[in-house]
Symmetry: C2
Subunit: 312 residues, 2 copies
């Protein structure tokens, strides 16, 4: 596959092309008890998102150096590292090999492509976090199957149609200097985490990832009772509300308790389209926050410096 | 078992007695492929912590209304709700029953004790979050077994010996008005989440739960590159550092990048003792932060108001 070096904005809009990626692993139905996906940061997010729409087996995401003790031949194991050189992911993949577990890898190269038994190669030249389509689609093709790609493309386009609205929201976030507090629920739980990491890496700001209804059992306390601190945050609810209890919980916070919460309502037909809509929406939002803050959306100097320090 | 209504401080120190709780479920080795633990907030934390030291099977924690589709007779299912009336947990337990899955419950009563097939009854009269020993120990007794309870008690006592140091740290957190950012790693990953929820409910302040090395792939960017925003947080590293890569990562942040990080070094012999040391340490810390902020550590008005709103 060709190597390309598009601008960061082009990397964001390339999601529309990435979802056409047709690669998949072979998997025999009924051979496995669980799915283990090893990956860090932007690569690890793919596993977290998959867990939202694949429910035939438990999906365990490993974001550390060690493969869980229970992992064995009944585990469908996938290591995801865009660069192929992430030290934690290589460590986990090596442990899998030692245990005789087949290593499936999604990567653009590196050490991982050498040690894996099966490799899905993704194009080089992107920031890892902007390769999410390439990293996630093979998991969907392998495990979920029969996905309406045209529907996903359409949702991504519909998110981009909101670009003006997104720019306005970005200006507000950048000018207020507040910390985005992103709320999702149900199958979109991984989206708030993805959004948080994009605010971190692209906009260079903190963000909180939160889910309903779990949030209502703890963080709702300072959110409503400590308004001085609560004012440091800007609340964003992302996702459709097609559950009456969730709707009532949101009504309590906004209508009964007068908390201002911005809402992102995805235009979509199902939960996978919803995820891609929200991925694209937040990619654009975090990009425009970076632009408004006059920071480079592409560079992540601290992570580069850390890598140098670790290898010294 | 007797019902008692100790003061909130007594509830915190009752952890020492709670760990002596001997109840356990019967479980036949090899009958299950996974462990599913349903629970919200302070009750759900027990499942998250268990996942740190039980690795014979995947442990999936469910903090929503729905039982995953894959759950079946090969799933060892436990529903945890201190009150027994948590709507999400009851919803999940009912779905399990409909699917013919045996429902194990850890609860002080309520609807859950009526619908469950096997019940471990815990004493009434505590705040759910201060019943963590009663909720967690039966999971450990059932799945981990052969735990040195005297060692755990000793660790809890050693944490309390730090009460003066904890009070000092609490004064600093309360007076600065900063947001605690708690960093853990490896098997203590659930502890940063527990600490966050205790800051929320007891101290009525926000907190961020974070883990190494995942944090180093995203949130390290604003942490080091956006010092204005980074200054809104107070960084706390909790846990032993007996891994050279983790040590080097901490050294990078503190020594190379001059970030101030407070450290909590548990006195303990193994990871279960470490967890209990840290649970107790943070329970005392969040309590003293509440006292310094002149807020009631016991009440959680917003959650009570929400419950009223939901049932109206």
């Amino acid at each position: 596959m060709a190597t390309f070096f598009p601008s960061f904005y082009e990397q964001i809009i390339s999601l529309e092309d990435q979802v056409k990626f047709k690669e998949r692993f072979q998997i025999t139905e009924g051979s496995y008890n669980n799915v283990i996906i090893s990956g860090m940061g932007g690569s690890g997010v793919a596993g977290r998102l998959l867990a939202g729409f694949y429910e035939n087996m438990p999906v365990i995401t490993v974001d550390s150096y060690d493969l869980p003790k229970y992992a064995g031949k009944k585990s469908f194991f996938v290591a995801i590292s865009y660069s192929g050189n992430t030290e934690e992911t290589i460590s986990v993949a090596k442990q899998a090999k030692e245990r005789g577990i087949e290593v499936h890898a999604i990567t653009s190269g590196g050490v991982l492509s050498e040690i894996a038994d099966r490799v899905i190669s993704v194009p080089k030249g992107l920031q890892p976090r902007q390769a999410i389509g390439f990293l996630l689609i093979p998991l969907i093709n392998t495990l979920v199957g029969n996905v309406d790609i045209e529907g996903i493309i359409s949702s991504v386009r519909k998110a981009r149609e909101k670009e003006k609205e997104i720019e306005t929201m970005a200006r507000k976030i950048a000018s207020d200097g507040k910390i985005p507090y992103i709320i999702t629920w149900g199958k979109q739980a991984g989206i708030s985490y993805r959004a948080k990491t994009q605010f971190n890496e692209i906009s260079k700001i903190f963000a909180i990832s939160s889910n309903l209804s779990e949030q209502n059992h703890n963080e709702i306390v300072p959110m409503l009772e400590n308004r001085d601190m609560s004012d440091k945050f800007i609340y964003i609810f992302a996702g459709r509300i097609n559950n009456e209890r969730i709707r009532k919980r949101v009504d309590f916070m906004t209508k009964d308790q007068n908390l201002e919460i911005m809402k992102i309502n995805p235009v979509c037909n199902n939960e996978i389209e919803e995820s891609f809509y929200l991925i694209h929406y937040f990619d654009l939002l975090t990009y425009y926050v970076a632009k408004n803050r006059n920071v480079d959306p592409e560079s992540v100097k601290s992570i580069e410096n850390l890598k140098k320090f670790l290898s010294s």
